[in-house]
């Protein structure tokens, strides 16, 4: 059988079947459609303006490595006029993060971008290794996720950037839509498909890979021979998320468009006004100044639980009652340094990204 020609350029020999569309295409056309779709995502949502300082959340994994490469490529090709930085968070996981950070350091050389590394130990006084040795593996992802979100903002503030971009891909977003419906998290469901999020005092954060399939990111890294770290975290992933991910993979196998279809669904509905009116308004943490839904932000609550030897204090009602029964926090309790957003941040958000 004669080799099939590329469905897009009709000239070159097709060497891959595109996971998103099923089309058989050549390597160059794959690079072109992948990069053009990311560019479309960026321009449609008007994510950047010339002169913006943008931090790329870099873990050394496939998503952030490809993101750094594609951001650099598009910035040069379409003259976005951005100053790009790499920002890494060191969670303190021996045998995992220390190795992946070596990859990020090589990326710094390869892409010629400044790199900032901020560690949990420096910010919170706890490494994830110590958290897990104290509380066990159960719920450790809650601590890591909450700490990382705030650490990224604080690292970005120290770099004086206007914007953080992360490597969340289409699979991550589709999975989050399904999970938020199944566990009734209406607040997160309302915002999980937004390409750009921003609190009153936080730095704009967006996901240029929102419509990029995980399989295509891997394929892109493979064909471009990018240097990335591919080991999964040594601490077990969230079991419930694991269920949702396995289900999504089944759906994708049945009909590859399912991932993008779920994201389209997530963008097509919103929380009813009367329900939104009952949701908590955003405020500022009284202890560290970071955005919060309560008097204390989640990171401060988790840290207080760890410091006072009651790790479930910010996870379950029972834990919280136990902590309250112990009395107020001691004066010498370790706290997170007060958060001050960079003064250069612009608060304007394009209408399309709301």
């Amino acid at each position: 059988m004669a080799p099939k020609s590329c469905a897009l350029c009709q000239n070159a020999k097709a060497i891959l079947r595109r996971p998103k569309t099923g089309q058989q295409i050549c390597k160059d056309c794959f690079f072109r459609v992948f990069e053009t779709e990311v560019h479309n995502t960026i321009t449609e949502a008007q994510l950047f303006k010339p002169g913006d300082r943008v931090a790329i959340g870099a873990s050394g994994g496939k998503d952030s490595t490809v993101l750094a490469y594609v951001m650099k490529t598009l910035n040069e090709r379409y003259q976005y006029g951005l100053s790009l930085f790499l920002l890494s968070i060191d969670e303190g996981i021996t045998g995992y993060r220390d190795n992946s950070l070596e990859t990020v350091k090589r990326n710094q050389q390869q892409y010629d971008m400044p790199l900032k590394i901020l560690s949990y130990d420096e910010l919170y006084g706890w490494t994830m290794d110590r958290v897990v040795s104290t509380i066990g593996k159960k719920n450790n992802c809650t601590f890591c996720g909450v700490f990382r979100r705030q650490a990224l903002d604080r690292g970005a503030a120290s770099l004086c950037v206007d914007h953080i971009v992360t490597g969340h891909n289409a699979d991550d977003i589709a999975e989050t839509v399904l999970m938020n419906i199944m566990r009734g998290d209406i607040a997160r469901l309302g915002r999980c498909t937004a390409i750009c999020t921003q609190g009153e005092d936080t730095i704009r954060r967006s996901k240029p890979f929102k419509y990029a399939y995980e399989k295509e990111i891997v394929m892109y890294a493979y064909f471009k021979k990018l240097d990335y770290f591919s080991t999964e975290c040594i601490y077990s992933p969230d079991a419930y998320r694991g269920h949702a991910r396995a289900f999504l993979k089944d759906l994708e196998a049945a009909r590859p468009s399912a991932i993008i279809d779920i994201i389209h669904s997530g963008e097509a509905f919103e929380v009813k006004d009367e329900v939104r009116a009952t949701q908590k308004t955003q405020q500022t943490c009284k202890r560290c100044g970071y955005m919060s839904s309560n008097d204390l932000c989640k990171a401060c609550s988790l840290l207080e639980g760890l410091e006072r030897g009651m790790s479930t204090a910010a996870i379950s009602d029972k834990g919280r009652r136990k902590l309250e029964a112990e009395g107020p926090a001691p004066n010498n309790l370790r706290t997170i340094p007060y958060f001050r957003p960079p003064t250069t941040v612009t608060i304007e958000v394009p209408a399309a990204s709301q």
Partner: protein
Amino acid sequence: MSEFCGNPAAETGEALMPTKPKFDRTRTCVKCKTNSGNLVIRHSVYCRDCFTPLITTKFRQALEPHINHVSTGPRRGALKPSGGLLVAFSGGMGSSVLLDLVHRIYCANVGSDELKGGREHPRRSRVWKRIHVCYVKTSDVFPEINDQTAQIREAVARYEGCEFIPVRVQDAFDRSWWERVSGDAASSSAEIPVDLNDGDSEPIAALKAHLRALPTPTATQSTLSTLTRLLLLYTAHSIGASHLVLGTSLTSLSISLISSISQGGGFVVPQAIQEEWISPFVKRTPETTSWSGEVRLIRPLREVSLKECTAWVWWHQLSVVGKQRVPISERTIGSLTKDFIIGLERDYPSTVSTITKTVGKLAPKGKSGMRCVLCELPTQQSVQGWKARTSIHSFADAPSPADVATSLPIYLCYSCQTTLTSKSSRSTTSLNSGSLSTTSAPDAMDLPTWAAARLAFGVGIGEEQSATTSTSTNETRESRQSLIKSLVGEFLLDH
């Protein structure tokens, strides 16, 4: 060997993994607090006596506030539906329970001496004067499944006062059926150029051709479900029913919600719980407040889980005909979602209820004046542009406005576009026949009668447009025929 394997039943309690108790505190019924419980529903225990009122209350709470055209409260005496009632009956567990409850509450009890109040008390008057039961038969399309019409007819005949209406799924492609149900259009039906079959006017052949042109088993499953829904709605409209009730249980509803979201139906998913359908032939103005032929689709068992339905069937000794499974691949989004949700319900029993409650808090984002010509649900604007940006299929320049104007996708919702075009991961061509394959390649895509009529006349494409677009009736039959051909043409080839 026995020293390694042991007999788990003989092991002491300490040696086995502790199992989570299936109920919270006590074995006594949480309702009457006297009887010993017979059934555990999401960690709460109920006795058999309390189970029946529990289910009838859930049923009535889900249905009765929506009986009056404008809601005035759930009091029985004040229930005044605008038209008749159509009960959808598939022979499955949910619809068997539904029919039993409808009959028990609105037919059998009416003359009962047990009811309080005098002879003229409103409680003794019938809420619905006429109740019809409709069965949509699919066995003509799938020779693998048996024709159950006779058993269904017999099952319905057990309930006095309910009239049986059998419908065939191929009626969706049958002009004579369309003329019967389309009301005002019947008079002008001779002019409707819906014959897209290139001489093959047999409805069954047209339906098979339509299904054969679909690219995935998921598309086949969702098309059958859309056809069934529209056949029921048009049937309800044709008999003057104001309400159509479906036996979707809580479990089935959450499966269908997740399945719909996974097929891009996010814009209409809030309506999947309850829908207000207006026939394109009903002339309504924004000022119209009275009932003018709309059909309200309600799922009165939406708070009743599959387990509760099973208990109802068992304790009330209902004989369930059984719904036959349509012989299409197990690897459809619908089947995968069903397996996933039922598995999840086992470990997290509140999940199904959480899903429906969460979806109940959602609303479509943005406005829509359009209805999809295939599924007749509201469509979003600028779906085409979104698709083109996020999944590039071609480097060719954007199509000209003239091309777009005569393109079928602009008349379709996102889900129906996906159904018609989204390929499976294995197929290299867009046309996949599944179990319906024949040696002949499909050379035309047939559309259901309502879609063809809407395309030809522009009826109801946009609610506000319907009055003006019907002027196209002046066009010649030939030109309309070629227009429809050009509209569907892009789905005929691999692209």
